[in-house]
Structure formats: structure tokens, C-alpha cells
Amino acid sequence: MSQLLTPKAFFTGGLFCLIALSTTANAQWAVESRGELGLETRVFQPDDNPGTNDQNVAAAARLQVDSRKGDLRLRFRGFVRHDQTDRGRSAAFPEEAWAQWKGERFSLTVGWDMVTWTATEAFHPADVVNARYFDSNVENFEKVGEPLAQLRMKLGQGNISAYLMPYFTSPIFPSAQSRLSFTGPGVSMGGARWLTRDGDITRDRLGAQWAVNLQQTVGDADLSFHVLQNQDRYNPVIGIDPTRLEVHPLFKPVTQIGGTYQQVIEGLIAKAEFAYRYYDRSDAKPSPTFIALDPRQLTENRDHGVAALGLEYSVSHDIGWESTFIVEGQSVFAEGKGLNGNARIRHELNIFQRDVMGGLRLAFQDAADSTLLLFAVVDLENAEQMFGNLGYNRRLGEEWSLKAGLRFFNLPPKNPDMPVGFERWHKANQFTLTLMRHF
């Protein structure tokens, strides 16, 4: 396991697990558990590069244990992936490991948690609290649990929540052998560096991060608004530590205002998500241990807005099948020349800088819950750039499931030194097959 979060994280997560499990001996605690154990395979179109892995075979497991007694709840949910073909891709992290007190109007949650602020299916500009596991599906990177304290209060038809996040959780990057590497074949990504609001570059992971989120149901609509101040985990500045000749990601402090919207209108589900991100520092004091490969990433104004809109409509067929049509679009608005801002900066800031996704989910409505998912994402600024997905999943009996997928990417060639944005998926055409046992 090359990218365990921290020993402290696992100690705490394991402690929660032990507490939850130990309560099974106490009849006053209600305990529930569930999980899955699977075999994942991924085969890329060969890139004729001996430095990369074209095939991955991994075992993956997820365990969730819930324990409840009166107003108190404990949860542990952890994920482990062990890749036999690329040990650097292996990872283990807590998704949730928290204790919660829940009263009539207030609740307090302390521990690792996943925060979901999203409304759309493919683009998630507002959903940025958690760090991500970047060697997973590009439209829905897996989330890593974030240590936080959340105080929630019922308010109207919804709630208002305040979050305090004292620890900077680093994303998990693809390995040096991964076809999706940020750094090019053979170059490992070192530990994260953090730009403080004073302009210092540090490895210290402790610092104040906070958020407030208001969530309300108004008639047929669900709305949420948030303000978030944290360390960005989505747009790393890649640099080198000349004292060690290592590559590291640097993350800047950012303030985000954003929101989500979902509404049912005559069977049509309308969705929207937006975020505006202000980078609190666009410069850094000179550091002997970090030199940005592209200094512009530390000097240019990278403030930007992202908006995503979507529509979803389902229809049942006489033969019993159900089709759901999904259309979504996302645009990035960056500082720079004209309304479109600086195209290069937008390209660096977001994989989907001006894209449209069209999709069909066909549910066969059978006992196996067989479902076919077909979608394509097209870059509106360059229609030749696209990514397509064909996925199929079904249950095998009542405890097993099978998931198969084909992904096709038509993207520009990678910059061999430092692939930018969606370039990392250049020729990353792939077939995936996952067999999972649920319990």
C-alpha cells in the first residue's frame, strides 16, 4: 500500500471499527454491517511504453459498520484496494469514521466523513470538500474521507450546517506506472505541499478550513448554497523539490461560493450546480524545496467560475424496460480575455472546461436489475475531443454482481513531461470488468 493516508487516520478509523464491533456484545447497541469484496480488472489499449502498466488486476473491499444507541451513532466505512499488477495503485482509506450525537434540532458529527454537494451526474463543480482518488472514473472520482466536525441545525424545510476541517487530506494520485499518471511514466508523485494564506509553502497538514451549507426544499425544488474556505485539492501545481529531486503537488488556499438545484417539472428533472472559486494566494514566497514546473500556475490569476446544467427524463416501455435520458453541460469561466477567459487556463483548471454530455440509462427491470449505461462527453470547443462510455451491470444471484465497461477517449497527445487536464486520458481506451460479492 503505497498511499495510505496516515497512520493516524487508520488508527482512528480502526478504533471506531473496534468500538462499533465491540458493541455487538452489548444488547443496548443496535449494530448493522454491510460491505463488498470484489475482483477488478482493467485493460488499456497498449501504449507501447514499457514504463506503464496496460493491465490492472486488483482486489477491492469496502466494509461499513453502524452502531446506534439512543441519540448516539458510530459509523466506520473503509475502503481497500490492492492492485497486484501496480502496487503503487493500491490504497486504503476511511470513507467515513465518525461519532454522532443527534438531538431533535441539532446534530454534531466528529470524524472522517464524505460530504456530497451535488445535483448533476457527470459534472460536479460544487462537490469539492473531499479529496479524491484520481485513479478512478473521471466523471466520478472516488472520494476520500475528510476529517471534520459538523454541527447541523434543522431550519425550515431543510437545515444549515457548519463544518470545521482542521486537517488537509491529500488526494491519492495515480502511480508512476499508471496510464493516468500526472507526472509521466516512471516518475512518482511525492507528498503534498500546501500554500498557506501567508504565502509559505509547507508540508504541515494542520490548518483552519471551514464551510457553511444551507439546504432547503421549496415546493418541487431542492436548493443548497455554500461558502467554503479550504485548501484546493483539484488543481495541483506540479513542482520539484531540488534538494531531493522529487516531484510534488502544491495546493493553494481557496474560497468557494456555490450551490446546487434540483427540480421536478412535469416528469423532467432539471439540475444545476455552480461554484466560483477565489484563490486566496496566487503567489508564494520563494522556497528552497519547491519549484513549480510551470511558474505561471503560481503567478497568474486562476479565479474562476464553473456552472453545470442538466436535464433527466425517464420513460417506461411496453415491454417493461425503462429508459432514462440525460443531457448535461458544463462551462468554466476564467479570468482573462473576454467572456471565455483564457482558454489555456480553463484547460488547466478543469477537465471539462466547455463540454456536453448525452447519456442513456436503460434499465431492463428484471430480477437481476440489469442496466446498460451509454454516454458520451464532447468538447464544444473542439468536437473531435470526446470520451465515450458503454457500461453494463447486473446482479448474479442475490449476493454477487457483475460490472463491465468500455471507455473510449479521443484526446490530444500528452505533454510527455507533464500531461495537462484531460490529456492524461490520451489513448486510455479501456475495458473494465468487476466481479463483486456483497454482504
Binding site: 443527534k102 425517464s314 442475490e398
Partner: protein
């Protein structure tokens, strides 16, 4: 799923029987009404008579049987909250198969408007609003549709009394119900309503072409206080030869439930 017939089909209290006897027991008075007027009165009385149950909880086991006799099962927990002036609220948590364990669905039914529905997906910890417009979609791959299990408000049908009948020594009203929603999967339903249970014991569902599609059989009725509830529901699809059964366990009527559980932002708890 909404103000679930699967939880409370055509419910009626025994205390309402006297009222119903007064309204419908006199055949001369009844004859003075049109079949539509009498059908509506029966439906309204059934609806009124069930008021006051406050809340309900149960676990349910659903068995799906295909044309070859192969069986698969589903398990879920259900809670319902009665509301004044509008449809009820329900919350269902799926427990089996294992891959959907923890998935929850919240429904706010409405007397006239489409229901509000939300789905909680535990894998991504997301609450998603879903459309209740697609009524003819299958519920968990079974022969039940969302429409079968959903809100059965009086206003959502045109009612017609067809006949008084006797079946196995029991007094029955034979009724016709035509869904008012244009997107219903059915052209009509024929229901046989037991006058003691004040619930249907059988419903025939006719597809949009007017052909018999499915038959539901209701059985194992039990009395909870003054409310009758069924214990088993079997739905046979005549066109596919598949059938599904739904069996209730641990049903509690009138128990206290936390109202906050029926808010969309509480689905993840």
C-alpha cells in the same frame, strides 16, 4: 411507492361500517344513485374511515417468480406518517439484495399533484430527487409498478359501482376505477372490495389497450386496533406468466415515529 397500497390498500375502519351501512345498506336509496355516484361515495367513505391511524411501520418481503419458476427475494423496512390535508409520507429502506442494502426512498404523496420522491444512494452518500411521473415502471424488477404501490387517493380515479356480490360467504362490492392520470399504465381497474375488511381482495388491471394485464390477490387480513391490514399480496402478470408476492411482517399501526425521518435531508440518517 407512496401512500402505499402495499401498506394500506383501500383501508377502512370497522367503526365506519355503520356509516357505510347507512349510506349503502339501503338498496332503495342506492338505486336512486348513478353507479358513478355510488362508486365515488364508497371510495370516499373508505378513505375517510381510515383516517386517524397516525403512523405505521412494518418489514416486507417480496418474492419474484419468473415464468420458469425461479425465485428471487427482496426485503425492505417501511414507515408511514399520516398527514392532515394532504397525502401521507412514507420512507422505505431496502435491506436485500445486499447490493442495494441501505438504499432509502422517501415519498410525499399528494391528493392531486404528482408525488414528491427522493432516493438516497448510500454508495455515493447522495440524496437524489426522482420523478414520480413514470408510474408504470417496475418496482425492483417485480410485477408491481410504482402505480400499484403508490398513492391511491380518491381524486386520482374515476369510480363506478358495478355490483353487490357474495364470494365465499363474504359481502363484496365490485367496483371499477379509471385512473385520471394520462400517464397511467392502465386503462381501468376492476376491484372486489370486502365489506368487512373494507379492503380489496382482488383487483384486475387492464393495460392501455384494454386487455387484462395483471391480477392482484389480497389475503391474510389482520385487525390492528380498528384498522384492517392485509398480510399478503400476490400480483400475477397474465402476459408474461411472472408473478410477485409481498408479505408483511412485524406490522405496527399507530406507533410513534420520528417526524423528522420524513424530511429529504434526513434520508442519509
Amino acid at each position: 411507492m407512496t401512500k402505499h397500497r402495499l401498506l394500506r390498500p383501500f383501508p377502512l375502519t370497522l367503526s365506519a361500517i355503520a356509516l357505510l351501512s347507512g349510506v349503502f345498506g339501503n338498496s332503495e336509496d342506492a338505486n336512486a344513485e348513478s353507479p358513478e355516484e355510488k362508486g365515488l361515495k364508497i371510495a370516499q367513505s373508505l378513505d375517510r374511515a381510515n383516517e386517524g391511524y397516525a403512523s405505521e411501520s412494518s418489514t416486507m418481503e417480496m418474492t419474484l417468480v419468473n415464468a420458469h419458476g425461479d425465485k428471487t427475494s427482496r426485503k425492505m423496512k417501511s414507515q408511514i406518517l399520516e398527514t392532515k390535508d394532504d397525502g401521507d409520507k412514507s420512507r422505505i429502506e431496502f435491506e436485500w439484495p445486499a447490493d442495494v442494502k441501505g438504499t432509502r426512498m422517501l415519498t410525499w404523496t399528494h391528493k392531486k399533484d404528482d408525488d414528491d420522491q427522493w432516493l438516497f444512494l448510500p454508495a455515493i452518500k447522495r440524496v437524489k430527487r426522482i420523478s414520480s411521473k413514470n408510474k408504470s415502471g417496475s418496482f425492483m424488477g417485480s410485477e408491481f409498478t410504482y402505480e400499484d404501490l403508490g398513492s391511491q387517493e380518491v381524486e386520482k380515479f374515476k369510480h363506478k359501482f358495478l355490483a353487490d356480490e357474495m364470494q365465499n360467504g363474504r359481502k363484496i362490492w365490485k367496483m371499477e376505477r379509471i385512473p385520471t392520470a394520462a400517464d397511467s399504465g392502465y386503462s381501468k381497474q376492476i376491484a372486489w372490495v370486502d365489506r368487512e375488511y373494507n379492503n380489496p381482495i382482488k383487483i384486475e388491471y387492464y393495460d392501455r389497450k384494454g386487455e387484462l394485464l395483471k391480477t392482484a390477490a389480497f389475503s391474510d387480513f389482520k385487525k390492528f386496533g380498528k384498522f384492517w391490514r392485509l398480510g399478503k399480496l400476490e400480483m400475477k402478470n397474465h402476459q408474461t406468466r411472472k408473478y410477485s408476492t409481498l408479505v408483511w411482517h412485524d406490522r405496527k399501526v399507530g406507533v410513534a415515529v420520528d417526524n423528522a425521518l420524513f424530511e429529504s435531508d434526513e434520508l442519509e440518517n
